[in-house]
Amino acid sequence: MKTIKHIGLVLFLVGLGIFSLLPLTGSFTLSADNLATVAENQNIRSEVFVQELERKVVGKTFNGLSTFSPTVIKALEDANTQHRKDKEYNKIMYVSPHDMVANLAKVSGEGFLVNNKVLMWFLTFGLGIIGALLFILPDAILLGKKGIKNNGIYHSNSTSRGWIAWLVFVYLITFYLLLYFRPEYAVNWTYTVDPISQWLSGNPAGHWFVYGFMYTTVMTVMAARMYIKYRHNAYQMVRTTSVLFFQIVFAFLIPEIMVRLQMPYYDFKNAFPLDYDFFFQWNLRSLLNSGGIGLFILVWGIVLTLIIVPVMVYFFGKRWYCSWVCGCGGLAETLGDPYRQHSSKSLFSWKVERWLVHGVLVFAVGMTLMTLYSFFTESGTVLGIRTQSVQNTYSLLIGAFFAGVIGTGFYPIFGNRVWCRFGCPLAAYLGFVQRFKSRFRITTNGGQCISCGNCSVYCEQGIDVRAYAQKGENIIRSSCVGCGICSAVCPRGVLKLENGPLKGRINPTDVLLGNDVDLMELMNKKS
C-alpha cells in the first residue's frame, strides 16, 4: 500500500512537472489569415497595430513566448499612443495587452503539443489525476478503522508550515499571478484541454477554461480524500457530495453548455456580491441582448441575492451556501482541508476580519450602486469619481488579488478560508443574516466540554469554538460556514450543528449545566 502511495506521488509530481514546464515551451507562428481572424473577432480597428504585427510577427517562428509577448505588447502600446495623439479614440484597443498576446498566441501555436493534445493532456492532467488518486485511495485501508484521522498533522512538513507548505504557497501564488496577469503563458495549457472544451461548448479553450477544468478536477480528486478521511461522518459525506455536485454541474458544465446553445455564460449558483460584475454595464447589456434567457438570468440573479439567499440562511444558516454550494467554499473544503488548522484564532484576527470583510461588502455595494447609477443615467462618473476606475480597482484588488492570489495561494500557511473569512462580501452579507435572524446554531452540550481545543484548532474560519463550548454557550457567529468539523473532531460529543427555534438560540452562561441548580439560575439569568 505504501508503495502504491509512493508510485502515486511520483506520477503526480511528473505530471505537475510537465504541466509547470509547458508555459516555457512550444513554438508560435502567426499566419496572416489567423491575424485577420483574430482582428475581426476582437473587433480591432487599429490598422497601425495590424500592420506592425504583419511586419514584425507574421510568418516568423518564435520559440516560446519570451520574444513574441513583448513584441505584440509593444506594437499594441505604440499603436494606442499614436491613436491617442491623433485623437482616433475609436481605434484605441482597451483589451489588456496580455490578453491580446494570449489570443494571438492561441492561434499561432504549432508543433508537438498542438498536434498531440490528448497525449499532452494525459501527460499533465492525466498523470496528475492518476498519481493523486494512487496517493489518496490506499488511505481507505491504511487509515484503519473509521474515526478521526488527524494523527501527525503537526508532525508533517506539508501540513505544519514546513518547507513543503512554503513551496506550495509560492507555487500557488505564482500560478495565480500568471493566470490573472500573464495569461499568454497559459496558452500551452489551453491546448491540452481544447478537445474537452470543443466537446462541451464547441469553442477552443481559453485560460479560464483551463482554470475551470483544473478547479473541478482538483476538487473531485480531493473530494475522494474527504470521503476517505471522514467516512465515519455522514454529515461530511453528504456535504462533500453536495459541494462537488454544484461545482461540476453548475459552475463547470451548465455555463459551457449554455455557450454551445448561444446563451450567455452563467453560473446559476454564483450570487451577487460574490459575483461582483453581475451588474456591470457589459453584463447587463449582454443579458438584455440575449432575449428570454438573458432576462431570466437577470431576474434569477436578483431574486437569488435578495430572497433565496437570506431565506435559506434563515432556515439553515449560511452553511447551505458557503460549505454546501459555493465554488470557493468547495475548493476550500477539498483542496484546502489539509490546511484548515492554520486559521488564526486570535482576538486580533477577529478584529481584522470584521473590518476587512465588511469593508469589502461596503466596497462591493458602493461600486454596484455607482454602476447602476451610471447605467441608467449613462454618465461615466458619480460625484466626480469614474465608475470604470472603481470597477477596475475592485476587479484587481478584490477579484484578482484577494479572491484568487491570496484566496487560494495562502492555503498552506494561513488556512483554507482566508478569502471566505476576510474578503468575501457575500459571506459578510450572509453573516449578518446568520448572526441576527437564523435558526442555525452550533449547540453546546451542557457541561461536557473538557476544553481540549480540537474544535478551535480545526475551525477553518478561525472561530475560537472552545471559548464558547467551555462556557456551555451555543456558537452563534456570523463567520461560521457550518462545515461541521468542530463537531466531528470533538472527542466528547459536545457540539452539534442544528436548526431550531430562535428562542434560546443565544444562551450566555456563566455556570454550566451540572452544577448547583440555584447557582446556575442566579448566575445565568442576567441576560
Binding site: 494523527n151 503537526y154 459525506m237 481545543g453 484548532v457 473532531v489 427555534p501 449545566l513 451540572g514 452544577n515
Partner: protein
C-alpha cells in the same frame, strides 16, 4: 485589598480565579510550577499525536491574564504557614495571603513496583510527562515496545497515543475486562474488542510484578504475574491518580486521601480552601466519591467557591452525575448512575442494546420495582445533556425515556438513528409495546 492566592493553575484554580475576578476586585495570584499559563491537561495526548501544538491546549490567549489582573507566578510552593498566612516557595521567597485556595490536582499512582523509578518508566499527567514521553518514545525505532500498566482512561489514552506512532503496545489490565470497575459487562466487552482491533496487545487479569533495568538504569523489560517477561523500552504507569498534597503534610491542614473539605470547600483552617482533584469531601453527595478527579467537577468547585470567597456562601452542590470519555474511536457518555455488575445496587436493573455490526451500544439503568430511570451509558451515540438531566430530575420511568429517546439524540445530522431498534429490543425483552415518538423541538426547548 484582599489577596487571594491560588496554588495550581489547572481547571479548578483557574475557574475560581476567573469567577472571583467576575465578582470582585480582589487581588488574585495563581501559582504553578508546571506551565506559566493554564492549559488543558486533557489535550496533552493530542499534542503527542500531532493533532495540535502545545500552545493550542491553552484556552486563553496570553494577554488574557494581565487584562483581567490575574497575576501568574511560576514557582513551587514548599510549605504553607497557616499561622502567619503565608506560603514559602522553593526559592525561599514568601507570599502572604488573606485567603488561600489549594488546587494542586493529582499525581499518578505508583504502588511500589520494583523498578518504578527507572528511566523510561512514567505516568501521563503533566506537561513534563508529555515532554518525557516525546523523549522516551519519539518513534518505533527508539521505542520498540511500550507496556502500559493500569486499565483506566489514561491507560487507554496512552495506548492510543503510542499507536499513533506505530509503536507496539502491550496493555496490562488487572481486571478480567477493561475498566469493568466502572463499565457494565456489555460495554466493557465491546471496548476489549475495540482495543484489540487497534492492534493493542490487551492482557487481562494480568498484574505487573517487576520492571527490569538494563545496565544504564533504563527499563528493558517487565515481568508479569503470569510469569511472562515482556521486552520494552517504555513503561506507562496509569493506575489512577491521587491528590497532590505532600507539601501540606505538616501544615496543620487536615488531610485524608486528599485535603479534607466540607461542602463549602473549606478546610479545617479558616480562609483556606481546597478544590478540584486534591479535595476530599467529608460527606460526598449521593453516590459521588469523596475525591472526584474529573475535569468538570473541578470546574464546578471553582464556580461555587468563587461565590463563597466573594461573600455569598455557596455549597458545592453538584447536580446529576455525568461524564464522558473516548476509547480510541468510540465516544462514551454517561448520565446518572449505571453501575457495573460488581457494585450494582440490588434494586438496579439494566437494559442493554448493542448494534449487530457497528461498535455502538447503550445501557439504561432503572429501578426494578418502580421502573424509575436511574442512568444511561452510551457508546458511539451522543446524548443531549440537558434532556437526560431533565429526565433524571423528573424521575421519569424507563418506558418514558425510551418513548422519547429521540429527543435526547445528539449525533450530528444525517447520522443513522437507532432508537427504533433500541425500543424494539426493549419491547422484545419486557413484552411492552412502546412506540418511539418523533423528535420534538418543542419538548427539547420547553423548560418544564
Amino acid at each position: 485589598m484582599e489577596h487571594i492566592v491560588i496554588i495550581g493553575n489547572g481547571i479548578s484554580g483557574i475557574t475560581a480565579a476567573r469567577h472571583i475576578r467576575k465578582l470582585s476586585d480582589k487581588k488574585i495570584t495563581v501559582i504553578s510550577n508546571e506551565n506559566a499559563y493554564f492549559f488543558s491537561r486533557t489535550a496533552l495526548m493530542y499534542v503527542y499525536m500531532g493533532h495540535m501544538k502545545f500552545e493550542h491546549t491553552q484556552p486563553y490567549e496570553n494577554w488574557f491574564w494581565k487584562k483581567n489582573r490575574i497575576e501568574l507566578l511560576t514557582a513551587y510552593v514548599e510549605r504553607v504557614d497557616t499561622e502567619n498566612k503565608k506560603l514559602i516557595l522553593q526559592n525561599l521567597q514568601e507570599i502572604n495571603f488573606d485567603k488561600l485556595i489549594i488546587a494542586t490536582g493529582s499525581n499518578p499512582n505508583k504502588f511500589g513496583w520494583p523498578g518504578q523509578d527507572l528511566k523510561g518508566v512514567q505516568g501521563l499527567y503533566s506537561k513534563q510527562d508529555l515532554e518525557m514521553l516525546e523523549a522516551n518514545a519519539p518513534n518505533n525505532e527508539v521505542c520498540k515496545r511500550a507496556v502500559i500498566v493500569g486499565g483506566g482512561l489514561i491507560g487507554i489514552e496512552m495506548a492510543e497515543m503510542l499507536r499513533s506512532r506505530d509503536i507496539p503496545v502491550t496493555f496490562l489490565v488487572r481486571e478480567d475486562s477493561f475498566w469493568n470497575i466502572v463499565l457494565p459487562k456489555g460495554e466493557s466487552q465491546m471496548i476489549n474488542e475495540h482495543i484489540r482491533e487497534h492492534h493493542i496487545d490487551l492482557q487481562l487479569n494480568t498484574n505487573l510484578e517487576t520492571i527490569v533495568s538494563d545496565e544504564h538504569g533504563r527499563v528493558k523489560a517487565v515481568t508479569t504475574d503470569k510469569g511472562e517477561t515482556i521486552a520494552c523500552n517504555v513503561v506507562g504507569l496509569t493506575a489512577g491518580v491521587s491528590p497532590n498534597i505532600n507539601f501540606l503534610k505538616d501544615s496543620g491542614i487536615s488531610l485524608g486521601k486528599g485535603v479534607k473539605v466540607n461542602q463549602y470547600l473549606e478546610t479545617n483552617i479558616a480562609d483556606i480552601y481546597a478544590i478540584g482533584d486534591c479535595a476530599e469531601q467529608h460527606q460526598p453527595k449521593g453516590n459521588r466519591r469523596p475525591v472526584e478527579a474529573v475535569w468538570y467537577t473541578g470546574r464546578m468547585m471553582g464556580e461555587a467557591l468563587a461565590q463563597t470567597i466573594c461573600g455569598r456562601k455557596t455549597p458545592y452542590n453538584p447536580g446529576h452525575w455525568f461524564n464522558s470519555a473516548k476509547f480510541l474511536d468510540i465516544e462514551y457518555q454517561t448520565y446518572g448512575w449505571v453501575f457495573p455488575e460488581a457494585v450494582k445496587k440490588e434494586y438496579e436493573e439494566h437494559f442493554h442494546w448493542r448494534h449487530p455490526k457497528e461498535k455502538i451500544c447503550i445501557t439504561i439503568a432503572f429501578h426494578k420495582e418502580s421502573r424509575q430511570f436511574l442512568g444511561i451509558n452510551t457508546l458511539g451515540i451522543r446524548m443531549r445533556h440537558e434532556i437526560v438531566d431533565r429526565w433524571l430530575t423528573q424521575k421519569r420511568s424507563v418506558e418514558s425515556v425510551l418513548e422519547y429517546l429521540k429527543d435526547a439524540n445528539f449525533d450530528p445530522e444525517f447520522y443513522s438513528q437507532y432508537e427504533k431498534d433500541i425500543v424494539a429490543h426493549y419491547n422484545n425483552i419486557f413484552g411492552t409495546n412502546i412506540n418511539p415518538k418523533k423528535k420534538s423541538w418543542k419538548r427539547i426547548f420547553s423548560k418544564a
